[in-house]
Amino acid sequence: MSAEVREIAVFTTLAALAATLVMLVPGVALAWLLARRRFPGKAIVETLVSLPLVVPPVATGLLLLWLFGRRGPIGALLASAGIELVFTPAAVVVAMALMGLPLLVRTARAGFEQVTHRYEQMAETLGAGPWRVFTTITLPLASRNIVAGAVLGFSRALGEFGATIVVAGSIPGRTRTLAVGIYSFMETGRDADALALVAVSVSIAFVAVLLSGRLVRQG
């Protein structure tokens, strides 16, 4: 494995891990809200969360480019704070997190829906307030699905191509990920390196999906 291939593999894994961490709190919160609460606009939130699964990733990338571009609504805010996101490693993480989020939310939501409400009620009769009930009963009982969802989200992040290439580009040593790298190497006739990246992608994804399936089945 060439140093460049190794570098891409390490960067992509780290970026996907960072994306998983980024999506974890909002993802679990959304999953819980969708599973346990009724609120106006719930169907819209539900649809928005799932949208990245069906919209072409390139379109999502373009949307991110506009949002986070220097003149975009979020990008302008960040720019005034001296932060530029587009075509940086952080943009890779943002694209990955957004694309992985639907998988995390769906899996975690199913987990929350499986938690018997009576356990939570029992904890209440024992004096536990809402936060204690959530952290000591709801969350642990849904944890297998949350971990499985995070693994799925991570796997999705790992393979992200369309959104990443639009919003982060393919800058060697800076924003080049496994999927983007495979494409770039192929384009430039570096077939051996492309294949090495394919092998790395397949191995990581294989382990992640296997792990996720095992976690859900145990539940």
């Binding site: 029992m122 209440e124 009769t125 024992l126 009982l141």
Partner: protein, 237 residues
């Protein structure tokens, strides 16, 4: 021996079934009888705060738990209730120890004096929880689950205990010890009991008042010996 006043004056609709209670009872241990589907468990759930009545008032020992007209509804977590449902409902992800001490907080144990503390320890010994402490709840038998659920309720220092067929899953030899434990809970810890049972002998052992429910209504009330013959004409030997 002081008794506790239970005011159960409430209605609760669930689909086609309506539970309508109109009771004011003085008791240390109140037994609830009736065929299945008569509203016994619903009554316990109303007292535990797992259900809200559509109308009416619930009070235990002068403490109002629910008063719909006055807009009072004490949430389950503030009722200081010890609820032992029929299926025990132990937290599956915690060990027996984790379950037993889930509700024991500094505030909960601060209310205990030395005598109470000793009585609680004796009750725990009667329940034979100690050998189970480090086990996972998934391996427990039905009777063990019931004992752990009762211990968990007690450790939270409840103001009153709600027991749904506490002895149903307990094997016969152990039953006497559990009844003894419940008697001490009632007398030494002075925790009033409300319990659902099908067994007349459990009533005579513990209850000083009983009500008979049928189809969501109270059809008999009074001393256990007055209510018992109504509900269960025992077959002649």
């Amino acid at each position: 021996m002081t008794t506790t006043e239970f005011i159960l004056d409430a209605t609760c609709r669930q689909g086609a079934f309506t539970l309508a209670l109109d009771l004011r009872v003085q008791a240390r241990a109140l037994a609830l009888f009736g065929p299945s589907g008569s509203g016994k468990t619903t009554t316990l759930e109303l007292l535990a705060g797992l259900r809200t009545p559509d109308a009416g008032r619930l009070a235990v020992g002068g403490r109002v738990l629910v008063d719909r007209a006055a807009g009072i509804h004490v949430p389950a977590r503030a009722r200081r209730v010890g609820y032992v449902p029929q299926d025990a409902l132990l937290f599956p992800h915690l060990s027996v120890r984790g379950n037993v001490f889930y509700g024991r907080t500094d505030a909960a144990s601060a209310g205990l004096d030395e005598t109470n503390r000793r009585a609680l320890a004796e009750v725990m010994a009667l329940l034979e929880i100690e050998p189970l402490m480090d086990r996972s709840v998934s391996g427990l038998s039905g009777g063990e689950r019931q004992r752990v659920a009762l211990a968990r309720a007690l450790q939270a220092s409840p103001a009153f205990l709600l027991l749904d067929e506490p002895l149903a899953a307990v094997d016969l030899p152990r039953r006497r010890r559990i009844v003894e434990a419940l008697r001490r809970i009632r007398d030494e810890l002075a925790i009033p009991l409300v319990y659902v049972t099908h067994a007349p002998e459990e009533v005579s052992a513990l209850a000083d008042a009983a009500i008979l429910l049928d189809g969501g209504r109270v059809v008999a009330r009074g001393a256990p010996r007055d209510v018992l013959p109504v509900m269960a004409p025992l077959p002649e030997a």
